[in-house]
């Protein structure tokens, strides 16, 4: 068995899946379908997860490469469960101003979480650079721009 650390929990993956791309192991083997498949060639960014804090295309990451690293997926961002669940500030911003179909949303959220970890108050050009690598076919790019700023406000305790 391969041991993966995902969302601060240990998960077992059969050895034969060592070469399979992480996106399929997350989605199909482990049922963590919050990580999306979009293109399989690392362009659209729908499959982004955080690996040791870095937004990473899980469609380009063999599962074996993720062993021993800390993986965070969309399911691991909120704290608590059920009624007491507390959204991550980036999730809270996207709840206020949602994208449309939201298939790509997880990937954008991962970029934003990583950006705000490094730079709690990014300016417009910094946001554009950090968020430019992912597609949104529904055309929600201006919502994404706005939500990163908004998430920074929420994280900083500003309402």
């Amino acid at each position: 068995m391969l041991k993966l650390e995902i969302n601060q929990r240990s998960w077992d993956v059969p050895d034969f899946q060592a070469d399979e791309m992480l996106v399929w192991v997350l989605r199909d083997t482990l049922g963590l379908t919050g990580t999306r498949f979009g293109c399989g060639v690392g362009v659209c960014g729908s499959c982004n997860v955080l690996i040791n804090g870095v937004p990473t295309r899980s469609c380009q990451t063999p599962t074996a490469d993720a062993v021993g690293k800390k993986i965070i997926t969309l399911e691991g961002l909120a704290k608590g469960t059920g009624e007491n669940i507390k959204l991550h500030p980036v999730q809270a911003a996207f709840l206020e101003n949602p994208l449309q179909c939201c298939w790509c949303m997880s990937g954008h959220i991962m970029n934003a979480v990583a950006l705000l970890e490094q730079n709690p108050n990014p300016n417009a050009p910094q946001i554009d650079s950090a968020m430019n690598e992912n597609y949104c076919r529904c055309g929600g790019y201006n919502t994404i721009r706005k939500n990163v700023t908004r998430a920074a406000e929420i994280a900083g305790g500003r309402s």
Binding site: G38, V43, C44, E75, Q91, N132, R137
Partner: protein, 732 residues
């Protein structure tokens, strides 16, 4: 033999409608009220006749497809008959229902209707910007009926006259004594007898009394999507499921001449290889997707025939010429006037384009002894159902469809879904099978926005007005490829209805003729957001600018000068004037920038746009897009604005970047490296949308705003560079 029926009087209509409601009380004391939408008028009458004949009793009425359930604990569920693909339709429908139910929209839990809850897979369809406009009245009627039933029952329970009861925020009050009140749940809990549908139609609220319709209510589907809990089609999971992969032909139309499993059966994880030469089908079922896809490479397949067509040949076929095509609009005498005065001409071309919804096509099927279950992200399941019935032959098996959340669609998930592939594989292996396409399959093996070519000729009279306009459009099939019409009938009709979207110039032109030439290509084409509106508007509204230039008139004023003196003309003038003001049209933009305007309409929705552009390092940069829309009554302005902005961005992607080309019978671009989409940095930071509300009913919002952007940008580029670009994507 069909005889033409006299139109129904309002009383008759209501009687029939009343007959079509279904009420269930049940042992749990649940009140359920449903209504019908989209069902052929004849069907309930037929059911009526069967029931009267004594052949059967009850249970034969088709289940309503609009459906509310109210429980004693005051919880209320609305089963929505429309599919969610990001347009926020479940929220909009909840707002409309809540309005007449007199409840806070938050009290309504919205669930997707499925086969067990009023979903009829033969008729349910979501597309063409129709959901809100088509459901606006049936949904309100069903909701108002339920409210009236609660109000009448409350009157009995509170022992006051029915006129004394007011329904408000999920409660019924006695008008004279507000302390006398019952929640809807309490009314249901205390009900002793059968519920009855009122004999008269409910009064619907007047627009000025609306409190829920028009509100920017938050979307009901987003929280689950943020937590990773929402289930899209690609996310569907059931115990014991397997994964399927299907072999694709190397050329469109190629058939499978010979096929054998080869070494595929021996590959790790492979459960079964499924080959059906008659169906041109070869697929693999395995325990993981990766293994199923890998095993495909070991099949021995011999493909035969198909097209070897290339791009040049296609463009030659898709060419509008004088004298070809079917005349579908004729006003005045175009031939006699087209060669007079100042003459202008232009030819415009748009390419094949992909939908590129980010969730690739997929479906899961579980074929069992007595039923077939399907989990499909779909805009319309009727074609799947027909296909499944054909495939299982005379076997009578119940087909249960679970419509899934969609990660975008844009017309693609309305036809040719992966459901049949999943059914075939599940049927062979006896277990649930999920088939999820790769991006390469999704781009190359779906269908495309068809290429178009439009030839326009115009003549201007000495007063600078358009005297005549001659328009010939050639296009691949749009709707003909997805609706089941026999080929001879298609040939008889001669033009594809889908081409009509955005085809006609809205301006006052005395002599005007439109011809449409249908080109049947061996490359699969079909519905794409807005059907013909994007290619047609690019041509028509670019040419409008060319004529304005020839007439030495400001392009926006030139359009205003040609507004017809009709009710539609008045509405057209309003959106043009609004976009003129809000885009600062009268004030020159900063140095190095220019603006362009364009207009289009779809159904009754009118959209005008102004794009402001510059050129940077030989690339077109769009800084700002101003959008003015008359979409009638807007149910949820925030969501409607997202539809408009999203349409602008998707249209801009087609305007600046997207082009599929065909080589040796196959689209050359297979993924986003060769077919890039617009990115965040390429998106104008300012897309301002304004709704000019008119009328008491909503029109469509999902597509119309994609129409004008191509021409608006091309016209702005001309204003900046004096260079007219007539092909999409725009290349300097």
């Amino acid at each position: 033999m069909k005889t033409k029926k006299a139109p129904l009087t309002p009383e008759q209509r209501w009687k029939m409608t009343r007959r079509r409601f279904l009420i269930g009380t049940g042992s749990l004391g649940v009140l359920a009220v449903g209504g019908y939408f989209g069902i052929n008028e004849g069907r309930p009458a037929m059911v009526d006749a069967i029931e009267k004949s004594g052949a059967s009793r009850g249970g034969k009425m088709p289940a309503p497809n609009l459906w509310f359930e109210l429980k004693p604990d005051n919880s209320m569920v609305f089963y929505a008959p429309k599919f969610e693909m990001g347009q926020g339709i479940h929220s909009a429908l909840a707002q409309i229902a809540a309005e007449e139910l007199e409840v806070d929209w938050k009290q309504l839990t919205v669930r997707q209707a499925d086969s067990s809850k009023g979903f009829d897979p033969n008729i349910m369809f979501t597309g063409g910007s129709t959901s809100v406009q088509d459901l606006f009245t049936p949904l309100r009627t069903a909701a108002a009926t339920m409210r009236e039933m609660l109000r009448l029952e409350a009157a009995k329970q509170l022992s006051v006259g029915a006129n004394e009861i007011v329904a408000l925020r999920g409660e019924c009050f006695a008008r004279q004594d507000m302390s006398k009140k019952l929640s809807y749940g309490q009314i249901v809990a205390a009900k002793q007898t059968e519920w009855e549908i009122p004999k008269t139609a409910p009064n619907l609220k007047a627009r000025k009394a609306f409190t829920s319709i028009g509100l920017n209510a938050p979307r009901v589907d987003v929280r689950a999507k943020l937590l990773g809990q929402a289930v899209y089609g690609y996310d569907a999971r059931v115990p014991d499921m397997l994964y399927g992969a299907v072999a694709r032909p190397p050329r469109y139309g190629a058939t499978l001449k010979n096929a054998s499993a080869g070494d595929a059966s021996n590959q790790p994880g492979v459960k079964q290889v499924v080959i059906d030469l008659k169906a041109n089908f070869a697929g693999v079922v395995a325990d993981t997707r990766t293994r199923a896809r890998e095993a495909l490479k070991f099949l021995n397949l011999e493909w035969d025939g198909g097209t070897s067509m290339g791009q040049a040949e296609i463009e030659q076929l898709v060419t509008a010429r004088d004298g070809i095509g079917v005349v579908i609009k004729k006003r005045g005498n175009t031939d006699a006037n087209i060669l007079t005065g100042t003459q202008v001409s232009g030819e415009y071309r748009t390419p094949f384009a992909a939908h590129a919804h980010l969730e690739p096509l997929n479906a899961m099927a579980h074929v069992q002894a007595t039923k077939i279950e399907l989990w499909v992200p779909t805009q319309s399941t009727s074609s799947d159902i027909r296909g499944v019935q054909d495939m299982v032959g005379g076997e009578k098996r119940e087909i249960v469809v679970y419509p899934m959340q969609m990660g975008g669609s844009f017309g693609r998930k309305g036809a040719q879904s992966a459901a049949l592939e999943a059914v075939r594989l599940s049927n062979a292996v006896g277990k649930p099978v999920h088939v999820g396409w790769t991006r390469e399959e999704d781009i190359q093996h779906g269908f495309f926005r068809p290429p178009s070519h439009t030839k326009l000729r115009g003549s201007l009279s000495s007063d600078g007005r358009i005297n005549a306009l001659d328009q010939v459009t050639a296009s691949g099939d749009i709707l003909f490829s997805v609706i089941p019409i026999p080929e001879p009938i298609k040939n008889l009709i001669g033009f594809d209805f889908g081409v009509l979207s955005g085809l006609f110039s809205p301006y006052d032109i005395a002599n005007y003729r439109v011809r449409s030439h249908r080109v049947k290509l061996p490359i699969p084409t079909g519905t794409w957001r807005g059907l013909g509106i994007f290619p047609n508007t690019f041509a028509l509204e670019s040419f409008m600018d060319e004529m304005a230039f020839a007439a030495k008139t400001d392009p926006l004023d030139f359009r205003l000068k040609h507004v017809p003196n009709t009710e539609d003309g008045t509405r057209l003038k309003r959106v043009l004037e609004d976009v003129k003001t809000r885009s600062d049209w009268a004030t020159p933009p900063e140095s190095g920038r220019a603006r362009g305007v364009a207009f289009s309409s779809l159904g009754k929705t009118l959209v005008a746009q102004v794009a402001e552009v510059s050129i940077f390092e030989n690339r077109i940069v769009v800084h700002r897009v101003t959008v003015s829309i008359d979409a009638g009554l807007v149910v949820n302005p925030a969501n409607a604005a997202l539809q408009a902005k999203g349409s602008v961005v998707m249209g801009l992607s087609s305007t600046l970047l997207e082009k599929l080309t065909v080589k040796d019978g196959m689209v050359e671009q297979a993924n986003f490296k060769a077919y890039p989409l617009l990115t965040l940095k390429q998106t104008p930071p300012r897309i301002d949308v304004n709704f000019l509300e008119g009328g008491d009913t909503p029109y469509g919002m999902g597509e119309p705003a994609i129409g004008p952007i191509g021409a608006a940008v091309a016209n702005a580029v001309f204003a900046l560079t004096q260079k007219r670009i007539r092909d999409l994507p725009l290349e300097l």
